[in-house]
Symmetry: C2
Subunit: 231 residues, 2 copies
DNA sequence: AGGTAAGGATACCGAACGGTCTGTATCCTG
DNA sequence: CAGGATACAGACCGTTCGGTATCCTTACCT
Protein backbone atom coordinates (compact mmCIF):
# COMPACT_ATOMS: atom_id res chain seq x y z
CA UNK A 1 0.00 0.00 0.00
CA UNK A 2 2.36 2.64 -1.15
CA UNK A 3 -0.48 4.79 -2.36
CA UNK A 4 1.40 7.98 -3.07
CA UNK A 5 -0.88 10.56 -1.57
CA UNK A 6 -1.51 13.52 -3.73
CA UNK A 7 -1.23 15.99 -0.91
CA UNK A 8 2.46 16.57 -0.58
CA UNK A 9 1.72 19.45 1.69
CA UNK A 10 -0.28 17.99 4.54
CA UNK A 11 -2.45 20.20 6.72
CA UNK A 12 -2.99 22.47 3.80
CA UNK A 13 -6.26 22.89 2.03
CA UNK A 14 -6.10 20.62 -0.96
CA UNK A 15 -9.27 21.54 -2.82
CA UNK A 16 -8.37 25.12 -3.46
CA UNK A 17 -5.34 27.34 -3.26
CA UNK A 18 -7.18 30.57 -2.67
CA UNK A 19 -5.69 33.95 -3.18
CA UNK A 20 -6.35 36.42 -0.44
CA UNK A 21 -9.80 37.80 -1.12
CA UNK A 22 -8.64 41.34 -0.52
CA UNK A 23 -11.67 42.08 1.58
CA UNK A 24 -12.15 45.34 3.44
CA UNK A 25 -11.75 43.47 6.67
CA UNK A 26 -9.53 40.51 5.89
CA UNK A 27 -11.09 37.27 6.97
CA UNK A 28 -7.87 35.56 7.20
CA UNK A 29 -4.52 34.19 6.62
CA UNK A 30 -5.07 31.64 9.36
CA UNK A 31 -4.04 28.44 7.65
CA UNK A 32 -4.68 26.20 10.64
CA UNK A 33 -7.57 23.79 10.40
CA UNK A 34 -9.52 26.00 12.76
CA UNK A 35 -8.82 29.09 10.69
CA UNK A 36 -9.73 27.40 7.43
CA UNK A 37 -12.95 26.04 8.91
CA UNK A 38 -13.84 29.46 10.27
CA UNK A 39 -13.19 31.13 6.93
CA UNK A 40 -15.10 28.54 4.93
CA UNK A 41 -18.03 28.55 7.33
CA UNK A 42 -18.13 32.33 7.35
CA UNK A 43 -18.14 32.47 3.59
CA UNK A 44 -20.80 29.82 3.10
CA UNK A 45 -23.05 30.91 5.96
CA UNK A 46 -23.05 34.48 4.70
CA UNK A 47 -23.40 33.64 1.04
CA UNK A 48 -25.96 30.85 1.15
CA UNK A 49 -27.49 31.17 4.59
CA UNK A 50 -26.82 29.16 7.71
CA UNK A 51 -29.61 26.62 7.35
CA UNK A 52 -28.85 26.09 3.69
CA UNK A 53 -25.20 25.32 4.39
CA UNK A 54 -24.35 21.72 5.22
CA UNK A 55 -21.39 20.46 7.16
CA UNK A 56 -20.06 18.66 4.11
CA UNK A 57 -19.90 21.85 2.09
CA UNK A 58 -17.94 23.53 4.86
CA UNK A 59 -15.34 20.81 5.28
CA UNK A 60 -15.08 20.58 1.51
CA UNK A 61 -14.24 24.27 1.14
CA UNK A 62 -11.99 24.22 4.21
CA UNK A 63 -10.19 21.09 3.07
CA UNK A 64 -10.50 19.42 6.45
CA UNK A 65 -12.06 16.21 7.66
CA UNK A 66 -15.42 16.14 9.35
CA UNK A 67 -13.81 14.78 12.49
CA UNK A 68 -11.62 17.84 12.68
CA UNK A 69 -14.59 20.14 12.60
CA UNK A 70 -16.33 18.30 15.41
CA UNK A 71 -13.13 18.02 17.40
CA UNK A 72 -12.58 21.77 17.19
CA UNK A 73 -16.13 23.10 17.43
CA UNK A 74 -18.27 20.31 18.84
CA UNK A 75 -21.37 21.06 16.82
CA UNK A 76 -22.71 23.10 13.94
CA UNK A 77 -24.39 25.43 16.42
CA UNK A 78 -21.09 26.13 18.14
CA UNK A 79 -19.48 26.75 14.76
CA UNK A 80 -22.21 29.24 13.91
CA UNK A 81 -21.61 31.10 17.14
CA UNK A 82 -17.86 31.09 16.61
CA UNK A 83 -18.33 32.46 13.11
CA UNK A 84 -20.62 35.25 14.28
CA UNK A 85 -18.33 36.20 17.14
CA UNK A 86 -15.25 36.23 14.95
CA UNK A 87 -16.91 38.00 12.06
CA UNK A 88 -18.48 40.58 14.35
CA UNK A 89 -15.16 41.37 15.97
CA UNK A 90 -13.38 41.75 12.67
CA UNK A 91 -16.13 43.84 11.16
CA UNK A 92 -16.24 46.22 14.12
CA UNK A 93 -12.47 46.62 14.04
CA UNK A 94 -12.62 47.43 10.36
CA UNK A 95 -15.59 49.77 10.67
CA UNK A 96 -14.27 51.77 13.59
CA UNK A 97 -10.85 51.88 11.99
CA UNK A 98 -12.34 53.13 8.74
CA UNK A 99 -14.14 56.06 10.30
CA UNK A 100 -11.38 56.91 12.78
CA UNK A 101 -8.45 56.65 10.39
CA UNK A 102 -7.30 60.03 9.23
CA UNK A 103 -8.42 61.81 12.33
CA UNK A 104 -10.42 64.99 12.10
CA UNK A 105 -13.25 66.27 14.23
CA UNK A 106 -16.02 63.93 15.39
CA UNK A 107 -18.47 65.04 12.71
CA UNK A 108 -15.91 64.37 10.01
CA UNK A 109 -15.57 60.86 11.38
CA UNK A 110 -19.31 60.35 11.32
CA UNK A 111 -19.52 61.45 7.71
CA UNK A 112 -17.00 58.77 6.87
CA UNK A 113 -19.51 56.07 7.79
CA UNK A 114 -21.30 55.79 4.48
CA UNK A 115 -18.31 56.12 2.17
CA UNK A 116 -16.77 53.31 4.20
CA UNK A 117 -19.90 51.20 3.88
CA UNK A 118 -19.91 51.81 0.15
CA UNK A 119 -16.52 50.17 -0.16
CA UNK A 120 -17.83 47.19 1.77
CA UNK A 121 -20.97 46.99 -0.37
CA UNK A 122 -18.91 46.93 -3.52
CA UNK A 123 -16.95 43.83 -2.55
CA UNK A 124 -17.79 40.68 -4.43
CA UNK A 125 -18.06 38.89 -1.12
CA UNK A 126 -20.56 41.32 0.38
CA UNK A 127 -23.56 39.31 1.54
CA UNK A 128 -25.25 41.71 3.93
CA UNK A 129 -25.03 41.75 7.71
CA UNK A 130 -24.49 38.23 9.07
CA UNK A 131 -26.34 39.13 12.25
CA UNK A 132 -29.44 40.46 10.55
CA UNK A 133 -29.40 37.49 8.20
CA UNK A 134 -29.05 35.06 11.08
CA UNK A 135 -32.07 36.55 12.83
CA UNK A 136 -34.00 36.52 9.56
CA UNK A 137 -33.66 32.78 9.03
CA UNK A 138 -34.39 31.58 12.54
CA UNK A 139 -37.32 31.42 14.93
CA UNK A 140 -38.20 35.02 15.79
CA UNK A 141 -39.80 33.97 19.05
CA UNK A 142 -36.42 32.84 20.33
CA UNK A 143 -33.93 35.33 21.70
CA UNK A 144 -30.79 33.40 20.80
CA UNK A 145 -29.67 35.14 17.62
CA UNK A 146 -31.46 38.38 18.36
CA UNK A 147 -29.34 38.81 21.48
CA UNK A 148 -26.13 38.14 19.61
CA UNK A 149 -27.12 40.66 16.96
CA UNK A 150 -28.10 43.25 19.56
CA UNK A 151 -24.78 42.85 21.35
CA UNK A 152 -22.94 43.56 18.11
CA UNK A 153 -25.09 46.52 17.22
CA UNK A 154 -24.76 48.01 20.69
CA UNK A 155 -20.98 48.19 20.39
CA UNK A 156 -21.26 49.97 17.07
CA UNK A 157 -23.98 52.25 18.40
CA UNK A 158 -21.91 53.15 21.45
CA UNK A 159 -19.02 54.31 19.29
CA UNK A 160 -21.30 56.40 17.11
CA UNK A 161 -23.00 57.91 20.13
CA UNK A 162 -19.65 58.82 21.62
CA UNK A 163 -18.72 60.68 18.45
CA UNK A 164 -22.14 62.33 18.38
CA UNK A 165 -21.65 63.57 21.92
CA UNK A 166 -18.16 64.81 21.11
CA UNK A 167 -19.41 66.81 18.16
CA UNK A 168 -21.86 68.52 20.45
CA UNK A 169 -25.09 66.96 19.23
CA UNK A 170 -28.13 68.20 21.11
CA UNK A 171 -29.33 64.64 21.49
CA UNK A 172 -26.38 62.30 20.89
CA UNK A 173 -28.33 59.14 21.66
CA UNK A 174 -31.12 60.02 19.28
CA UNK A 175 -28.70 61.00 16.55
CA UNK A 176 -26.79 57.76 16.97
CA UNK A 177 -29.95 55.69 16.75
CA UNK A 178 -31.01 57.50 13.60
CA UNK A 179 -27.62 56.90 12.03
CA UNK A 180 -27.79 53.25 13.03
CA UNK A 181 -31.15 52.98 11.32
CA UNK A 182 -29.69 54.40 8.14
CA UNK A 183 -26.78 51.99 8.37
CA UNK A 184 -29.06 48.97 8.72
CA UNK A 185 -31.28 50.24 5.93
CA UNK A 186 -28.31 50.74 3.66
CA UNK A 187 -26.94 47.27 4.40
CA UNK A 188 -30.16 45.42 3.58
CA UNK A 189 -30.85 47.63 0.58
CA UNK A 190 -27.36 46.95 -0.73
CA UNK A 191 -27.83 43.22 -0.15
CA UNK A 192 -31.14 43.15 -2.01
CA UNK A 193 -30.23 45.51 -4.82
CA UNK A 194 -26.52 44.74 -5.19
CA UNK A 195 -26.07 48.48 -5.68
CA UNK A 196 -23.34 50.06 -3.55
CA UNK A 197 -24.84 53.43 -4.47
CA UNK A 198 -27.42 53.13 -1.71
CA UNK A 199 -24.59 54.18 0.58
CA UNK A 200 -24.62 57.58 -1.12
CA UNK A 201 -28.35 57.88 -0.56
CA UNK A 202 -27.90 56.98 3.08
CA UNK A 203 -25.07 59.50 3.38
CA UNK A 204 -27.32 62.14 1.91
CA UNK A 205 -30.02 61.39 4.46
CA UNK A 206 -27.45 61.39 7.23
CA UNK A 207 -26.28 64.83 6.19
CA UNK A 208 -29.59 66.26 7.35
CA UNK A 209 -28.95 64.95 10.84
CA UNK A 210 -25.90 67.18 11.20
CA UNK A 211 -27.79 70.43 10.59
CA UNK A 212 -26.56 73.34 12.72
CA UNK A 213 -29.79 73.25 14.69
CA UNK A 214 -28.86 69.81 15.94
CA UNK A 215 -25.58 70.96 17.46
CA UNK A 216 -25.08 72.68 20.78
CA UNK A 217 -22.18 74.94 19.85
CA UNK A 218 -22.39 75.94 16.22
CA UNK A 219 -19.01 76.91 14.89
CA UNK A 220 -19.89 79.73 12.53
CA UNK A 221 -23.46 79.92 11.35
CA UNK A 222 -25.67 82.64 12.77
CA UNK A 223 -28.18 81.62 15.36
CA UNK A 224 -31.08 83.45 13.73
CA UNK A 225 -31.18 81.17 10.75
CA UNK A 226 -30.96 78.17 13.03
CA UNK A 227 -33.98 79.25 15.01
CA UNK A 228 -36.03 79.44 11.85
CA UNK A 229 -35.42 75.84 10.89
CA UNK A 230 -35.14 74.41 14.34
CA UNK A 231 -37.18 71.25 14.98
CA UNK B 1 -65.52 -0.66 9.34
CA UNK B 2 -67.81 2.02 10.59
CA UNK B 3 -64.89 4.10 11.82
CA UNK B 4 -66.74 7.24 12.80
CA UNK B 5 -64.39 9.94 11.63
CA UNK B 6 -63.78 12.67 14.08
CA UNK B 7 -64.02 15.40 11.52
CA UNK B 8 -67.70 16.01 11.24
CA UNK B 9 -66.94 19.10 9.26
CA UNK B 10 -64.90 17.90 6.33
CA UNK B 11 -62.68 20.34 4.45
CA UNK B 12 -62.12 22.23 7.63
CA UNK B 13 -58.89 22.46 9.52
CA UNK B 14 -59.07 19.96 12.33
CA UNK B 15 -55.91 20.62 14.29
CA UNK B 16 -56.71 24.15 15.29
CA UNK B 17 -59.69 26.42 15.30
CA UNK B 18 -57.80 29.68 15.11
CA UNK B 19 -59.27 33.01 15.98
CA UNK B 20 -58.63 35.74 13.53
CA UNK B 21 -55.18 37.08 14.34
CA UNK B 22 -56.36 40.67 14.02
CA UNK B 23 -53.31 41.59 12.03
CA UNK B 24 -52.84 44.99 10.48
CA UNK B 25 -53.22 43.42 7.09
CA UNK B 26 -55.48 40.43 7.56
CA UNK B 27 -53.93 37.27 6.21
CA UNK B 28 -57.17 35.66 5.83
CA UNK B 29 -60.50 34.18 6.27
CA UNK B 30 -59.92 31.93 3.31
CA UNK B 31 -60.97 28.60 4.69
CA UNK B 32 -60.35 26.64 1.50
CA UNK B 33 -57.47 24.19 1.51
CA UNK B 34 -55.50 26.61 -0.62
CA UNK B 35 -56.19 29.48 1.72
CA UNK B 36 -55.30 27.51 4.81
CA UNK B 37 -52.08 26.29 3.24
CA UNK B 38 -51.17 29.81 2.20
CA UNK B 39 -51.86 31.17 5.67
CA UNK B 40 -49.96 28.41 7.43
CA UNK B 41 -47.00 28.63 5.07
CA UNK B 42 -46.89 32.41 5.39
CA UNK B 43 -46.89 32.20 9.15
CA UNK B 44 -44.24 29.51 9.40
CA UNK B 45 -41.97 30.84 6.65
CA UNK B 46 -41.97 34.29 8.22
CA UNK B 47 -41.62 33.13 11.80
CA UNK B 48 -39.08 30.35 11.45
CA UNK B 49 -37.56 30.98 8.06
CA UNK B 50 -38.21 29.26 4.76
CA UNK B 51 -35.42 26.71 4.91
CA UNK B 52 -36.21 25.84 8.50
CA UNK B 53 -39.85 25.12 7.72
CA UNK B 54 -40.72 21.61 6.57
CA UNK B 55 -43.67 20.54 4.49
CA UNK B 56 -44.99 18.45 7.36
CA UNK B 57 -45.17 21.46 9.66
CA UNK B 58 -47.13 23.40 7.06
CA UNK B 59 -49.72 20.72 6.37
CA UNK B 60 -50.00 20.16 10.09
CA UNK B 61 -50.83 23.79 10.80
CA UNK B 62 -53.05 24.04 7.74
CA UNK B 63 -54.85 20.82 8.55
CA UNK B 64 -54.53 19.50 5.02
CA UNK B 65 -52.99 16.42 3.49
CA UNK B 66 -49.61 16.48 1.86
CA UNK B 67 -51.21 15.44 -1.42
CA UNK B 68 -53.40 18.50 -1.33
CA UNK B 69 -50.41 20.76 -1.02
CA UNK B 70 -48.64 19.16 -3.94
CA UNK B 71 -51.81 19.10 -6.05
CA UNK B 72 -52.39 22.81 -5.44
CA UNK B 73 -48.83 24.13 -5.54
CA UNK B 74 -46.67 21.45 -7.14
CA UNK B 75 -43.57 22.01 -5.03
CA UNK B 76 -42.29 23.78 -1.99
CA UNK B 77 -40.58 26.30 -4.23
CA UNK B 78 -43.86 27.15 -5.91
CA UNK B 79 -45.49 27.48 -2.52
CA UNK B 80 -42.79 29.89 -1.42
CA UNK B 81 -43.36 32.03 -4.47
CA UNK B 82 -47.12 31.99 -3.95
CA UNK B 83 -46.67 33.03 -0.34
CA UNK B 84 -44.37 35.92 -1.23
CA UNK B 85 -46.64 37.13 -4.01
CA UNK B 86 -49.74 36.96 -1.84
CA UNK B 87 -48.09 38.48 1.21
CA UNK B 88 -46.51 41.24 -0.82
CA UNK B 89 -49.82 42.19 -2.38
CA UNK B 90 -51.60 42.26 0.95
CA UNK B 91 -48.86 44.21 2.64
CA UNK B 92 -48.76 46.86 -0.08
CA UNK B 93 -52.51 47.24 0.02
CA UNK B 94 -52.38 47.70 3.76
CA UNK B 95 -49.42 50.07 3.68
CA UNK B 96 -50.73 52.32 0.96
CA UNK B 97 -54.15 52.29 2.56
CA UNK B 98 -52.66 53.22 5.91
CA UNK B 99 -50.86 56.30 4.62
CA UNK B 100 -53.63 57.38 2.23
CA UNK B 101 -56.55 56.89 4.58
CA UNK B 102 -57.71 60.15 6.07
CA UNK B 103 -56.57 62.19 3.13
CA UNK B 104 -54.59 65.34 3.67
CA UNK B 105 -51.75 66.80 1.65
CA UNK B 106 -48.96 64.59 0.30
CA UNK B 107 -46.54 65.46 3.06
CA UNK B 108 -49.09 64.53 5.68
CA UNK B 109 -49.45 61.17 4.00
CA UNK B 110 -45.69 60.65 4.01
CA UNK B 111 -45.50 61.44 7.71
CA UNK B 112 -48.01 58.67 8.29
CA UNK B 113 -45.51 56.06 7.13
CA UNK B 114 -43.72 55.50 10.40
CA UNK B 115 -46.70 55.62 12.73
CA UNK B 116 -48.24 53.00 10.46
CA UNK B 117 -45.12 50.88 10.58
CA UNK B 118 -45.12 51.15 14.36
CA UNK B 119 -48.51 49.48 14.52
CA UNK B 120 -47.19 46.69 12.33
CA UNK B 121 -44.05 46.29 14.42
CA UNK B 122 -46.13 45.95 17.58
CA UNK B 123 -48.05 42.94 16.32
CA UNK B 124 -47.22 39.63 17.91
CA UNK B 125 -46.95 38.16 14.44
CA UNK B 126 -44.46 40.71 13.17
CA UNK B 127 -41.47 38.82 11.84
CA UNK B 128 -39.76 41.43 9.67
CA UNK B 129 -39.98 41.81 5.92
CA UNK B 130 -40.50 38.43 4.24
CA UNK B 131 -38.66 39.62 1.15
CA UNK B 132 -35.57 40.80 2.97
CA UNK B 133 -35.61 37.62 5.04
CA UNK B 134 -35.97 35.45 1.95
CA UNK B 135 -32.95 37.09 0.36
CA UNK B 136 -31.02 36.76 3.61
CA UNK B 137 -31.36 33.00 3.79
CA UNK B 138 -30.63 32.12 0.18
CA UNK B 139 -27.72 32.20 -2.22
CA UNK B 140 -26.84 35.85 -2.76
CA UNK B 141 -25.23 35.11 -6.09
CA UNK B 142 -28.59 34.08 -7.48
CA UNK B 143 -31.09 36.68 -8.61
CA UNK B 144 -34.21 34.66 -7.89
CA UNK B 145 -35.34 36.12 -4.57
CA UNK B 146 -33.58 39.43 -5.01
CA UNK B 147 -35.68 40.14 -8.09
CA UNK B 148 -38.89 39.29 -6.26
CA UNK B 149 -37.90 41.57 -3.41
CA UNK B 150 -36.91 44.37 -5.75
CA UNK B 151 -40.22 44.15 -7.58
CA UNK B 152 -42.05 44.55 -4.30
CA UNK B 153 -39.92 47.44 -3.13
CA UNK B 154 -40.23 49.24 -6.45
CA UNK B 155 -44.00 49.38 -6.13
CA UNK B 156 -43.73 50.85 -2.67
CA UNK B 157 -41.02 53.24 -3.78
CA UNK B 158 -43.09 54.41 -6.74
CA UNK B 159 -45.97 55.37 -4.49
CA UNK B 160 -43.70 57.26 -2.11
CA UNK B 161 -41.99 59.02 -4.98
CA UNK B 162 -45.36 60.07 -6.39
CA UNK B 163 -46.28 61.63 -3.06
CA UNK B 164 -42.86 63.28 -2.83
CA UNK B 165 -43.36 64.83 -6.25
CA UNK B 166 -46.84 65.99 -5.33
CA UNK B 167 -45.60 67.72 -2.21
CA UNK B 168 -43.14 69.63 -4.35
CA UNK B 169 -39.92 67.98 -3.27
CA UNK B 170 -36.87 69.38 -5.02
CA UNK B 171 -35.66 65.87 -5.72
CA UNK B 172 -38.61 63.48 -5.33
CA UNK B 173 -36.67 60.39 -6.39
CA UNK B 174 -33.87 61.05 -3.93
CA UNK B 175 -36.31 61.80 -1.14
CA UNK B 176 -38.21 58.60 -1.86
CA UNK B 177 -35.05 56.52 -1.81
CA UNK B 178 -34.00 58.03 1.48
CA UNK B 179 -37.39 57.30 3.00
CA UNK B 180 -37.23 53.76 1.67
CA UNK B 181 -33.86 53.34 3.34
CA UNK B 182 -35.33 54.47 6.65
CA UNK B 183 -38.24 52.09 6.18
CA UNK B 184 -35.94 49.12 5.56
CA UNK B 185 -33.75 50.12 8.46
CA UNK B 186 -36.71 50.40 10.77
CA UNK B 187 -38.08 47.03 9.71
CA UNK B 188 -34.87 45.13 10.35
CA UNK B 189 -34.17 47.05 13.56
CA UNK B 190 -37.66 46.24 14.79
CA UNK B 191 -37.18 42.59 13.87
CA UNK B 192 -33.89 42.36 15.72
CA UNK B 193 -34.78 44.44 18.75
CA UNK B 194 -38.49 43.64 19.02
CA UNK B 195 -38.95 47.31 19.87
CA UNK B 196 -41.68 49.10 17.87
CA UNK B 197 -40.18 52.34 19.11
CA UNK B 198 -37.60 52.30 16.34
CA UNK B 199 -40.43 53.55 14.15
CA UNK B 200 -40.40 56.78 16.16
CA UNK B 201 -36.66 57.14 15.63
CA UNK B 202 -37.11 56.57 11.91
CA UNK B 203 -39.94 59.09 11.85
CA UNK B 204 -37.69 61.60 13.55
CA UNK B 205 -34.99 61.10 10.95
CA UNK B 206 -37.56 61.33 8.19
CA UNK B 207 -38.74 64.66 9.54
CA UNK B 208 -35.42 66.19 8.51
CA UNK B 209 -36.07 65.21 4.92
CA UNK B 210 -39.12 67.47 4.76
CA UNK B 211 -37.23 70.65 5.66
CA UNK B 212 -38.44 73.75 3.79
CA UNK B 213 -35.19 73.85 1.84
CA UNK B 214 -36.13 70.52 0.28
CA UNK B 215 -39.42 71.79 -1.15
CA UNK B 216 -39.89 73.79 -4.31
CA UNK B 217 -42.77 75.97 -3.19
CA UNK B 218 -42.49 76.70 0.48
CA UNK B 219 -45.85 77.49 1.96
CA UNK B 220 -44.87 80.06 4.54
CA UNK B 221 -41.24 80.24 5.57
CA UNK B 222 -39.14 83.06 4.23
CA UNK B 223 -36.67 82.26 1.51
CA UNK B 224 -33.74 83.94 3.21
CA UNK B 225 -33.60 81.36 5.94
CA UNK B 226 -33.82 78.59 3.41
CA UNK B 227 -30.85 79.86 1.48
CA UNK B 228 -28.76 79.76 4.61
CA UNK B 229 -29.34 76.10 5.26
CA UNK B 230 -29.73 74.94 1.71
CA UNK B 231 -27.73 71.85 0.75
C1' DA C 1 13.83 5.98 18.24
C1' DG C 2 9.62 6.34 19.98
C1' DG C 3 5.63 8.74 21.70
C1' DT C 4 2.21 12.06 21.22
C1' DA C 5 -0.74 15.46 19.25
C1' DA C 6 -3.07 17.04 15.20
C1' DG C 7 -5.30 16.12 11.38
C1' DG C 8 -7.14 13.29 7.19
C1' DA C 9 -10.18 9.59 5.14
C1' DT C 10 -14.18 7.05 5.24
C1' DA C 11 -17.94 4.25 6.69
C1' DC C 12 -21.80 4.63 9.18
C1' DC C 13 -25.99 6.05 12.10
C1' DG C 14 -30.76 7.82 13.02
C1' DA C 15 -33.58 11.48 11.85
C1' DA C 16 -35.68 14.62 8.86
C1' DC C 17 -36.16 16.33 4.42
C1' DG C 18 -39.05 16.97 -0.19
C1' DG C 19 -41.94 14.36 -2.75
C1' DT C 20 -44.93 10.19 -4.44
C1' DC C 21 -48.18 6.64 -3.96
C1' DT C 22 -52.41 4.14 -2.64
C1' DG C 23 -56.63 4.25 -0.68
C1' DT C 24 -60.85 6.30 1.36
C1' DA C 25 -64.42 9.63 2.58
C1' DT C 26 -67.23 13.44 1.28
C1' DC C 27 -69.45 16.60 -1.62
C1' DC C 28 -71.71 18.28 -6.07
C1' DT C 29 -73.98 17.41 -10.31
C1' DG C 30 -76.59 14.82 -13.70
C1' DC D 1 -78.13 6.68 -7.86
C1' DA D 2 -73.81 7.11 -10.53
C1' DG D 3 -69.72 9.40 -11.24
C1' DG D 4 -66.50 12.96 -11.00
C1' DA D 5 -64.01 16.26 -8.18
C1' DT D 6 -61.93 17.35 -4.02
C1' DA D 7 -59.64 16.48 0.04
C1' DC D 8 -57.79 13.61 3.95
C1' DA D 9 -54.78 9.83 5.83
C1' DG D 10 -50.69 7.64 5.97
C1' DA D 11 -47.19 4.52 4.20
C1' DC D 12 -43.31 4.95 1.59
C1' DC D 13 -39.04 6.41 -1.33
C1' DG D 14 -34.45 8.30 -2.10
C1' DT D 15 -31.62 11.84 -0.40
C1' DT D 16 -29.40 14.67 2.73
C1' DC D 17 -28.81 16.16 7.19
C1' DG D 18 -25.92 16.60 11.70
C1' DG D 19 -23.05 13.77 14.15
C1' DT D 20 -20.02 9.46 15.59
C1' DA D 21 -16.57 5.81 15.28
C1' DT D 22 -12.48 3.71 13.42
C1' DC D 23 -8.30 3.78 11.43
C1' DC D 24 -4.26 6.02 9.25
C1' DT D 25 -0.61 9.54 8.27
C1' DT D 26 2.48 13.15 9.40
C1' DA D 27 5.09 16.58 12.25
C1' DC D 28 7.24 17.55 16.15
C1' DC D 29 9.39 16.86 20.67
C1' DT D 30 11.81 14.83 23.97
Amino acid sequence: MIAPRSDLLPRMAKSVAKKKPAAAFAAGDDESARGRLLNAATHLFCKNGINATGIDAIIDEAGTAKTTLYKLFGSKTNLVHAVLENEGKQWREWFIGAIEAGGGDPQTKLTRIFPALKIWFAEDRFYGCPFINAVAEHDKDQKQFRNIALKHKKVVLAHIEKLAAEMGAVEPASLAHQLALLIDGAIVAAMVSCDPGVADTAGLAAGNLFAPSKVKKPKRAGSAAEQLVAV
